[in-house]
Every structure is written in C-alpha cells, then in structure tokens.
Amino acid sequence: MAGSDTKRSQPLWLLAELTYRCPLQCPYCSNPVEIAKYNNELGTEDWLRVLQQARKMGATQLGFSGGEPLVRRDLEELIGEARRLGYYTNLITSGVGMDRDRVKAFKEAGLDHIQISFQASNEELNNFLGGTKSFRHKQEMARVVKEFEYPMVLNIVLHRKNVDQIRDILDMTVELNADYVELASTQYYGWSRVNIDQLLPTREQLARAEVVAKEYQEKMKEKMKIIYVIPDYFENRPKACMNGWGAIFLTIAPDGSALPCHAAAQLPGLEFPNVKDHSIDHIWNDSDAFNKYRGFDWMQEPCRSCPEKEKDFGGCRCQAYMLTGDATNADPVCDKSPHHGKLHADVDRIGGLSGTKEFESKPLVFRNMRNSKELSGETAAAA
C-alpha cells in the first residue's frame, strides 16, 4: 500500500494540530522544540476547508490535537462540521480548559471520543510533570466524559519518573472506567529528546513494568483494552512508523504545514507544503515532501535488500536522521543498522547513571514558550 506501483494510498488518518498553545508544560511533549515560532495559526475557514478536502480523499479518523485543542474557541464548530462530513472525531486533550458544559456541547456537536492524558497517578507528580495543578480536574473530567457515554481513552506517557508506579496508574484507570488505556512509552522526539537523560527508563524498570501491564491486560480483558508498548530504543527491530511515509497519516500543524507525521518538521531538505497554498489532493499525491520516502526506492542498505522492509518500512525517518544524520539510513533501532550498537550503548550509559544523585538532580527542561525560544535560539546560533 505504500508504493506508487500499488493502489494509491489514502490519508485515512487526519491529525489536526489546532494549536501549540498549552497550559501544561510536560517535558516529554512530542511537539517540536520550536513551538514558539508557530505564531501564525490557521483560522476557522482554513480548517473547515482542510476537513472537507481530506474527507473527500477518504480520511475517516480525525484527531483534534495540539498543544491543547481546547484553547481553540472554534473547536465546537470544527467538531460539528467534522461530524457532518462523516469523520470519526477524536479529541486528544489534557482536560485542562474542559468543563461539564463543554463536554455536553461537544456531544451535541457530534464528538465521538475523548482521550485524556494523565502525567501520573498521584497529584504531586502529575502536577510537577505537567507544570500545573491539573490532577483533580482531570479526574473530574474523566468522570464527566463517562457520564456522557463517550468511549474514553486514558493516555499516560511512561518514563523513568513514573514507570515504577504503573500499578497505581492502572488502578486509577480502572477506577475511572476507562475503555482503553494507552501506556505510551516516551518516544524520543522533540522535548523528550532534550530530556532523554532524565526520562529514559532502565531495562530493570521496563522488565518490572511489563509484568504488571500483562497482569492487568489479562485481568481486565473483558472491560478495558490496555495498550502497552516498550520504548523502541530497547528493541532490535524498528516500528512500522506511521505505517509508512505518506501511506495513511496526514498531520496538519497549527500554521497549516502538512506533514507525513507530527515529528517530521525537523527533517532537513524538505519543504512541507502549506494548506493555505495547496489542496490536500495536491499535497498528498503530488508534493515532493509526501513522495520523498514513499515506497522503497529511497532506501539504502541494509533496508533495500531486506525481506522485512515491507513490514517496517525501514522504521522511522526522524529517528534515522536524529541518530545517524541521514534520514535515508535504516532506523538504528534495527540491529541490522551499523548504528545500532551506538544506540544501545547510549541506552546503557543512561541506565548506568540513572539512580545516582548528581544525575537525577539535573533539572528537566519544561515545554514552554520561554524554553522554546532559548532552545531554538541556540539551534539557530549553532547552525
């Protein structure tokens, strides 16, 4: 499905990143570090056009995301139009900025599903990681979401600071009647890459967490679906990232740039088309950016001749670029990559240092506009 020689791909999944503004400051945020540069948000009319065009091309799943999508006052209007067009609409939120009236208004507008993130299962750590007093409000909102009969996903990003509490986290999700739980291991893009030394779990932590996750998957299988995936840095085969470049995923960033995945903005030498200038049809089918890593012709060895290339598409382009400097290399998570040894050595270096006092006391860099300006400024100065 990911080749020009097979059936034309369709953007089945549209991720609408409505804004990078967010009341939370999670240090593992997958948004780009350069969020402060996105001060040119699309207006309502632009978004309505994007929704219409993508739906016509076969998009079915629509995620309203961010930043915090609740910041947008036109969210109800966008949900209403999305529902009229026949999308399955997912709201991916921290819950901050939500109240009972808004949950009700979303229901009336036709919202299908709400996903709420928690940072931890206890108030202190949750509020510390999010940089806001949000824990009790999130719990309250989760109850309201179920009261209105939405399917509810609770998403908890796992890392070294909270993975040992996986049992408490799962007990909390059971208590809140989640239909699905995503125990999302931190992926090291954007802000989490900046904070990797503080966030990467140890192999021992992961081994313990996996036992608990499996226990709850079995115990809760009639009531709740628990999705638990170990961080790919610990694997020997890469993930089938985005199910292949330009295969099913289409992300629109707050400024209207169209991306084959939400982390792709960092890749060099690509000019991502903007929905203000081009139709979704043109962007998906004809733009250089969306064709760049489609199919298999762009691959180098060891991917090019690998029998598994149709399964994992060579892994993640962003990870290949971040860890090897060349986005056409194999994702170094793969043990066939010549860079694999270096990645696992780095994992072990962090594992060896973690727990030591001086290492753990290094402060986290929180995701906020001030830190974004500082970090992007540094990048610009270094370039």
């Binding site: 026949g86 399955y88 299908d112 996903q115 009969e149 399917p151």
Partner: protein, 87 residues
Amino acid sequence: MNDIPEIAPTFRFQWEEAQDCYVILYPEGMVKLSGSAGEIMKRVNGSHNTDEIIADLKSAFPGVELDNDVRNFLDNARDNGWIRYKT
C-alpha cells in the same frame, strides 16, 4: 424480548464511500466489514430481535441458509463490544 441488539454507544457503524464497504469505527481505529457482515449490521438498530433480523435477511437473500452465520456473527460482534443487547 431480551435479545434485541443495538450498536454499542462506544462504537459507530457507517457506510464508507472511499472504502466501498460498511465499517465499524472506534477510538483511533476502523474495521472494514465484508458484504454479508455489513448486511447484518445495518439491520441492528435496537428495534428488531435476532429472529426478525434473520427473517429480514432471508427475504432479501432468498434461498440462502444463513441462520447460523448470523447468530455466530452477532456473538462475535458482542464479544468485540460492537453491539449490546437491550435489557
């Protein structure tokens, strides 16, 4: 009267033009249904019981022996959480 199936509120069922088939939609996911599965599911509307659904299918597809297939499909749909029975 206690075997009237309906679509569970946490799932959505609809015709999907771009896929040319009926689909079941749920958070961040989609299942494409076969032609016969779609024919069964579109009769699951919270007002007809299983026998009535089977009778309706038989009149739409005369001569097809479908009782067991329909019951098996509805059992699977319930196990998947797509449908529930009104009580």
